[in-house]
Symmetry: C2
Subunit: 241 residues, 2 copies
DNA sequence: ACCTGAACACCGTTCAAGT
DNA sequence: ACCTGAACACCGTTCAAGT
């Protein structure tokens, strides 16, 4: 009972911290401000969150927990992979200030492992050889995180005319910009671009997949539908539960 | 003369700040610490760097300046693109603490534009249609930045046995991890993996290229080697200088 | 068991002042 | 023209103390 209370209080504190980051940015996320929002003295936070660094790790946990339901999406491997990717990007829009923490902190919490596991599963179901699965998982998650962060931090943003102006002002120093002035004049649609990049990565994945393994359904169903001899390696556990 | 002195002093301050970040991390990068390293009072920095935020932008500038020579690499489009990508990753290893700033600040300085221009040029030379060039440039630069940051911040890192242990401890919650336990047991070579991902992106690029445009040499030579009728759009300026 | 209050060693930045 | 010093409003975190 007391233990449960501690966990609940911890979540209460982390939720307040994430809300504060959402509303006023990472710079405004001080232990003192979080404490004030929870209605307590700064020192009262320490037994629950350790210190500020651990509090930031806690925010990562909280965001991963929000993302996790996407890992349960049913359907073909590419449907599942797309769902997780789009959920990952949507998370960035919901928590633009805290989101970059995902890229800078090791993903070793149970929820992070579960999420990675769902991506591993999708890649395995796509027919990717085991040796390539972790690498392609990192390729996809790097894309999702990097793209979303580029978007929210404004790295891609200079859709305002000033960048274009500056680029052409550079003149001979930026000839390719001049050659592309037509397409650079119209700002891109970031939703469309994200999906296009994801499509490109899906092609990369299928290009690495075994020729015979074009199964697009979850492992159990695929295993049931295929003759056992098409399995390239023994599957240990979990297939029937 | 006085103007030049100001620029030189600014660079001196930024160089000291970058060195400080390299040696003691971003958290240790205070205005006071930079000032002490330069041998001056904190307030003396302000006329040169504006404020702390602008100082961080200055570090981005400094890193881009280090990266820029890679944009001058000669050779075929893919050679040039690879050179820039590998230089971008090498930069991360040289400045692990400051590097993530590249992902979080808009790239609108002249050096940034020059770098993007070199990537645009490589993609154009690859035969990518103009409409796809900016998107694929963002795909490539997102990969380089995201991968390098994942590497230096330890997001990929749990090559230590603990992650694997934790994943398998999760048991039924991480079945794909179990299925992959063989490949997950051996830590990846990050150099090789970076290159493999880059190869994948090069394939994406060529898959988007015009069928006839497999030119692998800089624009001027390619333009000279091909009949003018194969050009899909008029090239404005720069081609002959 | 849970929280508070005072204190310490830091921050970034302002302002008025020095030479 | 270039820099300093004192001051202000903040930080994260410690410690001893309250109830």
């Amino acid at each position: 009972m007391a233990e449960l209370g501690v966990e609940a209080r911890r979540r209460e504190i982390l939720t307040a911290a994430l809300a504060l980051a959402d509303e006023r940015g990472l710079d405004a996320l001080s232990m003192r401000a979080v404490a004030a929002r929870v209605g307590v003295t700064p020192m009262a936070l320490y037994p629950y969150v350790g210190n500020k660094d651990a509090l930031l790790d806690g925010l990562v946990d909280l965001m991963l927990a929000e993302l996790l339901p996407a890992a349960g999406t049913p359907g073909a491997w590419d449907v599942r992979l797309r769902a997780i990717a789009h959920a990952g990007r949507a998370l960035a829009h919901r928590h633009p200030a805290a989101y970059p923490l995902l890229l800078s902190r090791p993903a070793v919490t149970p929820d992070a492992v579960r999420l990675v596991d769902a991506l591993y599963r999708a890649l395995l179901d796509a027919g990717v050889p085991a040796a390539q699965v972790p690498r392609l998982e990192r390729l996809v998650s790097t894309y999702v995180l990097g793209y979303a962060i580029g978007e929210i931090t404004g790295r891609f943003a200079p859709a305002d005319p000033r960048r274009h102006a500056r680029a052409t002002a550079a003149g001979g120093a930026a000839p390719a910009h001049q050659e592309l002035s037509g397409v650079l004049a119209q700002p891109p649609d970031w939703d469309t671009e994200f999906t296009a990049g994801l499509d490109d990565l899906l092609h990369v994945i299928t290009s690495h997949a075994h020729a015979h393994a074009t199964r697009g359904v979850p492992a159990e169903q695929a295993a049931a539908a295929r003759p056992a001899t098409t399995r390239d390696r023994p599957i240990r556990g979990s297939a029937s539960r």
